[in-house]
Amino acid sequence: MLEARNVTKRFGGLVAVSNASLEVAAGSIVALIGPNGAGKTTLFAAMTGFHKPDSGSVTFDGADITGLQPHEIARRGLVRTFQIVQPFGALSVRENIAVGAHLREPNRAAALARAGEIAIRLGMGNMLDQPAATLTVAGRKRLEVARALATSPKLILLDEVMAGLNPTEIDEIVPIIRAVRDAGTTVLLIEHVMRAVMRLSERVYVLNQGRMIAEGTPQEVAARPEVVEAYLGHGAAQRIASVSA
């Protein structure tokens, strides 16, 4: 459904993403992992039109979307969230989510109603009339997901939506993401929380210093010594093994 082929993105002299390729099959949950600064967010941005790739191509739903504007890509059903949350601060939670809903729903009342439903689905039902600026970090992360979901995307790109959440909150959001997929939206997620990656994803891509260094099922990838060595750090292999056991 989504395919990035040999994508390269430079910032001045820095090659943030180098010749990276990945593929996401319709109906799957795929994870993109890698240490901080590996280029994961940049790859997301390059696939969604926020950065123009210096070379390489991105195909979505059978069409070449390389170099399209972000809003054009979103309209085709490929929607991202932001790792650094970007709420519409002065608007309420309901109004925030309704902006997403308006992508497919011109009617104001219907969009607001849909926003309410989605907020409830994500456990934000009691915050609907709160200005987004007053949300906690966890709340803002959820708002990112809620807004993106409200656009009824075919594929949603989640950028570290669990970072900064406590274990209970993570346990809450894992089934939500699974439900999203079960409702028909393909998921590609960037995540550091390995416990969630192992539980959720069917395939894992590993990015390190801009290069894709491994790809496979979570178990396969976790077993690759170069992956562990390259970036997960000491003790990570055991942690993963204990989780997947």
Partner: protein
């Protein structure tokens, strides 16, 4: 404020507005009310772009003057009926707005730079209007006196009702914007353009639409101004004075609120009339007052008077941050 009280207040002010000419004993107050309402209307036009869209224009005179000149020239040179001048002014103001928006937003101008470029556009038009013959150059343009509704010169009271109708239309329009997809997306762009784009909002197209709409509305205001005063010249039309007065109104009243421009215009013109009576009618003094007011508002009440009310109301509701 409970809902019924709000409605009662609205109803009462509507009645008061309709009855005003019957009780106003002098032409002075009618004229005062005309100016106040005209700027409430113009301020609302600015508010669409600046308040809801977050794009601060320092050059709304560009649209005001273009509307005014378009209608005045069409009338004096081609004998167009001034009633038709109204849609013509809207068209001219909208077209210039579209062009200014196309140029500045296409090249990604924002914030202070957008403000500067709109000001520069207005200045270019002022210099051109001073230089070309069909605007009457520096001498200005006189519109013939033809009293009567047929030629859009219905006298002060007639003008009062026309501009009152425009204010109502603009309030309704702002309400529509607050409750429409267009408005929701426009506010999203104001708050965070990247996030809006990620949700499929075409920020550029939206901003161009907003400035074209705002320009069209402002152009109509210019036409009415010319018909009322029967005269226009380059500094009246395109000078910074108009641009500043237009933007002051919503900033005083409250950006991005339905009633902000109306409240702002009433407060601004009442206070400036008061200042005039105290300090006399010397040239420039009311603009000194405007300048100081702008500084004081931004310093102490950046959300305007409507923001003050809202802040009070919010403070009453406990919330979990």
């Amino acid at each position: 404020m409970s809902a019924w009280l709000q409605r009662a207040l609205l109803g009462a002010s509507l009645l008061a507005a309709l009855a005003f000419p019957l009780v106003a004993e002098s032409g002075f107050w009618i004229k005062f009310a005309f100016t106040t309402l005209l700027f409430a209307y113009l301020g609302q036009a600015w508010n669409i772009l600046g308040g809801y869209g977050g794009q601060f224009s320092f050059g709304h005179a560009l649209f005001f003057g273009t509307g005014a000149y378009a209608a005045a020239i069409a009338q004096t040179a081609f004998g167009l009926n001034p009633w038709l001048g109204l849609p013509l002014g809207a068209l001219a103001g909208g077209a210039v707005g579209w062009a200014a928006g196309y140029l500045s937003f296409r090249y990604g101008l924002r914030g202070s730079y957008f403000a500067l470029v709109t000001l520069a556009f207005a200045e270019v038009f002022r210099i051109l209007a001073n230089a070309v013959p069909f605007t009457g150059a520096g001498v200005g343009l006189f519109v013939p006196l033809q009293p009567g509704w047929a030629q859009l010169q219905p006298g002060p009271i007639g003008f009062y009702y026309i501009v009152l109708a425009l204010v109502f239309a603009s309030l309704w329009f702002a309400w529509r914007i607050e409750n429409s997809r267009f408005g929701a997306q426009l506010m999203a762009v104001r708050e965070n353009e990247a996030a809006a784009a990620a949700l499929g909002v075409d920020a550029y197209a939206l901003k161009v639409r907003a400035i074209a709409l705002s320009g069209a509305m402002t152009g109509v205001g210019g036409v009415l101004y010319v018909q009322f005063y029967l005269y226009i010249d380059p500094s009246l039309a395109y000078g910074p004075g108009i641009s500043v007065e237009i933007l002051l109104v919503p900033i005083i009243g409250g950006l991005g609120t339905i009633f902000g421009p109306l409240i702002g215009s009433i407060v601004l013109h009442a206070a400036s009339e008061l200042a005039r009576r105290i300090m006399g009618d010397a040239p420039g003094i009311h603009l000194v007052f405007y300048g100081v007011l702008l500084v004081v508002m931004v310093r102490f009440l950046p959300d305007g008077l409507a923001g003050l009310l809202r802040r009070k109301r919010k403070a009453e509701v406990p919330r979990n941050a």
